[in-house]
């Protein structure tokens, strides 16, 4: 595939993530922080987010599976995940965390279990999409191309 076509694919793919609400404008803010001196900034931060979130989701699953759920332990984890996802622009993960957190405050165990699944689902979705996005970028760079900043135009 020619470079121009690859770059178009990347733009279209990125656009679809915004249209589906998977990413929000905060992701664009992240991209603005990336430059020639730091060309991997976005993927570095996102990778940190993945590592951190994998750990948090694991801890959350364990906490909710206890005989007696300690909500004082659960809340800080959700808070952190909500914060991180918001910071990288993972809108749907953030929104799911907000609902999840409300149920934690109400100590509604059943709803918490349901919403943890929802959070995980949204997380795996954005993880999958961003990994694809980074692969597309890598292909472009490997072919000698440059990553053009995404212009939302909407």
């Amino acid at each position: 595939m020619g470079l121009v076509k690859m770059q178009k694919s990347l733009q279209d793919y990125t656009k679809s993530l915004f249209l589906e609400g998977i990413l929000d404008s905060q992701f664009l803010q992240l991209q603005q922080l990336q430059d020639e001196s730091n060309p991997d900034f976005v993927s570095q931060v996102v990778t940190l987010f993945f590592q951190d979130s994998d750990r948090i989701l694991n801890d959350l699953s364990l906490s909710l599976d206890q005989q007696v759920v300690d909500f004082k332990k659960v809340d800080p984890h959700v808070h952190q995940l909500k914060g991180s996802s918001s910071s990288i622009g993972a809108q749907r993960v953030k929104n799911a965390c907000v609902v999840f957190r409300n149920f934690c405050e109400q100590q509604n165990i059943e709803a918490c279990h349901r919403w943890l699944q929802q959070v995980k689902q949204e997380y795996y979705l954005v993880k999958n999409r961003l990994e694809t996005l980074f692969k597309l970028e890598q292909q472009i760079v490997a072919s000698g191309g440059m990553i053009v900043a995404f212009e939302p135009g909407f």
């Binding site: 803010q29 603005q32 931060v45 914060g83 991180s84 990288i88």
Partner: protein, 164 residues
């Protein structure tokens, strides 16, 4: 970076990420950014560096106070205080385990050495009572998280105007 935050270890360890690569010019703002969230620390550090600030990050209020020379009396931090390059601004998250950003703000404002240092509180939640109590306790500004480049520019302008 481990989150134990317990033992009084060397302050030059991983608890701080100090920018040793660039010299500190007098017109460059030296910002101490405090946040328990690793991703947010990375972001605020980048935002500030891009905005030509020198940045030191701390993962909690206690570490921040230690860096500022307001640590536990039992710790011998006087030598370090002399080495620490003057902090011109503190940006702190509000919601942190242990010491909150609000508590950190109060400690800074209570200190004769540091009360003139502007403290900016950032939070994902723009709750009016929270905003008001921070401002009432001497916070320079209360800003919404996540911070954007435009926010940092605005903040710098505000501070420069206050300085002159």
């Amino acid at each position: 970076m481990n989150g134990s935050g317990g033992s009084c270890s060397s302050l030059m360890e991983v608890a701080y990420d100090d920018d040793h690569h660039h010299g500190h010019h007098d017109d460059e703002l030296h910002v101490l950014a405090v946040d328990d969230n690793l991703i947010d620390r990375k972001l605020v550090e980048k935002l500030l560096k891009i905005s030509s600030c020198k940045v030191t990050t701390a993962e909690n209020g206690i570490r921040a106070l230690e860096y500022l020379g307001l640590g536990d009396q039992n710790q011998h931090i006087d030598a370090l205080t002399n080495n620490v390059m003057k902090v011109n601004l503190i940006i702190t998250d509000y919601c942190m385990p242990g010491m909150t950003g609000f508590e950190l703000l109060k400690k800074v404002k209570e200190s004769s050495n540091l009360k003139e240092v502007p403290v900016v509180i950032v939070s994902s939640e723009n709750i009016p009572t929270r905003v008001n109590k921070c401002l009432a306790s001497g916070a320079q500004m209360f800003m919404q998280k996540p911070l954007k480049l435009a926010d940092v520019e605005k903040l710098k302008c505000h501070l420069m105007n206050c300085r002159s």
